[in-house]
Symmetry: D2
Subunit: 126 residues, 4 copies
């Protein structure tokens, strides 16, 4: 069993030991995941971009803890929905590459709906 | 190189090909990650908990895509801050187990600050 | 001066007294607002929908405090960008009514891109 | 009836006309509000702080629309929970002033738990 599967098993036992599975619907887990993502944002909200690249040891540890909590809820959701996270990431990178062709978007941070409109292209879905 | 490191390398190349590294400060990546987390929440916001456990194939694919995007930004941030995500998750599970002792919190969804207040305990940090 | 303008003035003085204006770029304020929105989500994440309609006095006060913080950052952003919030809300309701015609969406929680696809309509923007 | 109450009434009619009240539990509305808050963050995620202070007309309109949607869901939640939003904001400003005394926090963006720890003070709740 690889590391990711081991952590998923540990988290399942963690939930079972606390009788918390009853709270872990996909809906609720998505909420908890977004709350942890915001706690990560909170670490950075008053820092400049430059400061965010030069964290103090205390700031760095706080950031790592919040990243870990996001990863934990993502793994819980993957368990509950029986999703292979790494495979999903690989497939999404392919989709993202199609949405953002390197030669078209180089150096631009525009959303794909925006540069397509520049091209008079039509997009059905965001 | 394991799968996670491979994906991190692919994402670095993806950013390099588009000259997007300039936008990927930890501050900005935390924002992008939280936006993707909310797109995951959006999939579930009008569903009941029961419906969130019985997704249609289209709903399921949309959820998987958003989970993938969260994982992608988490990996980008891990690259930028040189964080070992799985190690961080394992260490955070240990911390969470201390905050939420199984015998105290069984079947309760209270936040740890709440059950500690029941105990007249004092907590210095949320 | 109406109530909303009074609160905006109080918040400007609050920031000035603390020399916090330097941190209040629109970018940073959007982050802080989203963090408060997630603290509101956190109040509800493990509750059922029915429980969310029957809050204890303590839960209710926590919810009100987080709603207040969202309103506060929205007002700060309105000050910084010189936006008339209520006028903006009224204009957005008109746009939303066009996106979601009552006769088409009655009783459905589908996103407007979805029911338009049912109609073979094309949408350029999400 | 003041402007805020008028908008709340308009939104109630909007929901009634679409038979959407069934979806508007406080739990679900908190999710929708946080999704709109993230759409606001999305407007700013790749901009510098300076750029966020100098939006193009298109960017500015997008920001105003997202601010409006946050205000709309906040008003829906206020209706559902019978909360006086402006009164809540005023009371929260008083609480925030106690948490962040001007003479202690001047020019610092530290969270109140942090500067209190500097003082060896103890805080029970974040």
């Amino acid at each position: 069993m690889d590391k990711l599967e081991q952590i998923k098993a540990t988290l399942q036992k963690f939930a079972d030991d606390r009788d918390w599975d009853q709270f872990h619907s996909p809906k609720n887990l998505s909420m908890a995941l977004s709350v942890e993502a915001s706690e990560l944002v909170e670490c950075f909200q008053w820092l400049t971009e430059a400061q965010s690249q030069n964290l103090s040891p205390e700031q760095r540890q706080a950031v790592i803890d919040e990243m870990a909590d996001v990863q934990i809820y993502l793994l819980r959701l993957a368990t509950k929905l029986d999703v292979n996270l790494l495979e999903a990431a690989e497939q999404k990178i392919v989709k993202n590459a199609e949405k953002y062709p390197a030669d078209k978007v180089k150096g631009s941070s525009k959303k794909y709906t925006e540069y397509q409109q520049d091209d008079h292209a039509v997009d059905k879905k965001a």
